[in-house]
Amino acid sequence: MTITKAVPRSFYKDPAVLDRELTEIFGRNWLYVGHESEVPAVGDYVTRSMGGDPVIMARGQEGIRVMLNSCTHRGTQVCKVAHGNTTTFRCGYHGWVFGNDGELRGVPGRRALYGPDFDLSRLGLRQARVETRHGLVFATWDPDAPDLTAFLGDFGWYLDAFFGLFPGGMEVHGGIHRVNVRGNWKIHAENFSGDGYHLQVAHRTMFELGVMGDQAGTVEGFVVNDPSGHCLRSQYLADEGVPETVFGYEDHLLEPALAAADPEVRRFREKTTVIHGLVYPNLLLITTAPQYFGEDASGPVAFTQLRVLTPIDQHHHEVAYWSLVPRDASPEWKAKSYLYVTRQHGAASYFEADDLENFRRIDAGLGAVAGERTPYNYELGLDAAESGAPPWNGPGRITRQDFTEANQRTFVGRYLEQMGERA
């Protein structure tokens, strides 16, 4: 794939572009909203964002719903807190009451003020389409969007390998925390989509401090992408015969899981040391097993983190962080996994700080006239082979080459296509 047109710099600073993104990107794709384990009981809810729209994800009698957090009368937010349990949401302005399924249940003075024929059923909270995969709850506002399986395309196999490994499934540890960072959301998205090139510079101190331990054998990287914009990058052990990757899970969980896994999934997971990627357009994921974060956090422990990027304005975005753990892991292991992810990839961790610093500096370097004439360069790895022989057989366009921007080109290409600009 070649790219003839990069994203113009105006796309990172023009408020009109952000408005179009909210419609064309956030209004049309499936967006990850949260995990089923965050709302385990009937009445549980969390509040989230889908692009510019505030939503409530709630479990009612008939399952999980995602609905606009905005009264159908005058648009007031009906829920103001991060999470809780309730049977109803009452608007604080005129008192309209909605069930936790979003149905409008009551209107003060209904019969006297609105008449006997006033139909509550057409004024429930606006509902998004909802589908789940391995407990991950996705929603979309587009009635014409393909179903989630079609949307995920070849990436579904990787999500299965990521979240379906443990028969007991995975759950969110605690909930989410959020941070407001400087920089356009797309820079963060393409970084996670597959930037193997920045590691030795941006994250050099992480390697110097021995966080990843001593890796035995030759480590290589590869990237995978799907034309619908989903991307994944992984590092794997290239040598046969060296010990398998250190997984960092408890043996009682890992051994039966690997024994039961599809052989190709098993090979994919066994050989890889870090996997990160992007579920287009704004869900980021990473799993790895770091080795050392101080004397109280020594020895490999795996973590799995999800992030959602939500634009605040063209120069800032909010990052929401989830930590997922195998549901059947011990409480001690879950706490340790959370400690590791907090120290490596939490909002206040100093490794995270290096990425956020670069996003900030990209924003500071946007410029105006001369900046606009200086498009970003996406040529890395253009001549690399488009397919090779990775140590497992999986779907998607695979490039056995770490130093390539094939994924960034995929993200940018799909984004421009959806924005009505030909890549």
């Binding site: 809780g84 909930g175 941070v179 960072v181 510079v201 909002a347 100093y350 956020l356």
Partner: protein, 162 residues
Amino acid sequence: MIRLEIEDFLFHEAALLDAGRYAEWLDLLHEDFLYRVPVPLAREDPTQSPYDDVLEFANESKSFLEMRFRRISSDFAWAERPAAMVRHFVSNVRVIPQDEGDELEVHTNVLVTRARLPEQPVWATAGRRDRIVRHDGGFLLRERVVHLDAEVPTESQLGVIF
């Protein structure tokens, strides 16, 4: 008066952080020191603590803080170049009497400003719950829990030790 002694200790400790004298600051930490910043979340029930039991912005031991400071001295710590100017304003010092032992619980309010020139400074406010132990004629910090006043802070606000 114990409060004056504690204030002297806390002002000295804050001055070391502000001056970037991290090795000396580490010397004020107990070997089991833990620094925690639980995540505040808006709650329906006003009697519930807004600080989450599980979620943390930070959880750092003394040996992890040593790694943090080793990193800062590297030329590749991008988020520390140029180094930030940090000022701690420590106030409302209250020493909470304990039933037993020589450990003190100390509550303070802090306002911390951070400026990475040429950018304008940002600031954050928090309550701190410190556990402080007597040691060798002075004090050591045993634990610091930071109750931040922001549910969705900026990365700049999170870039300091409170």
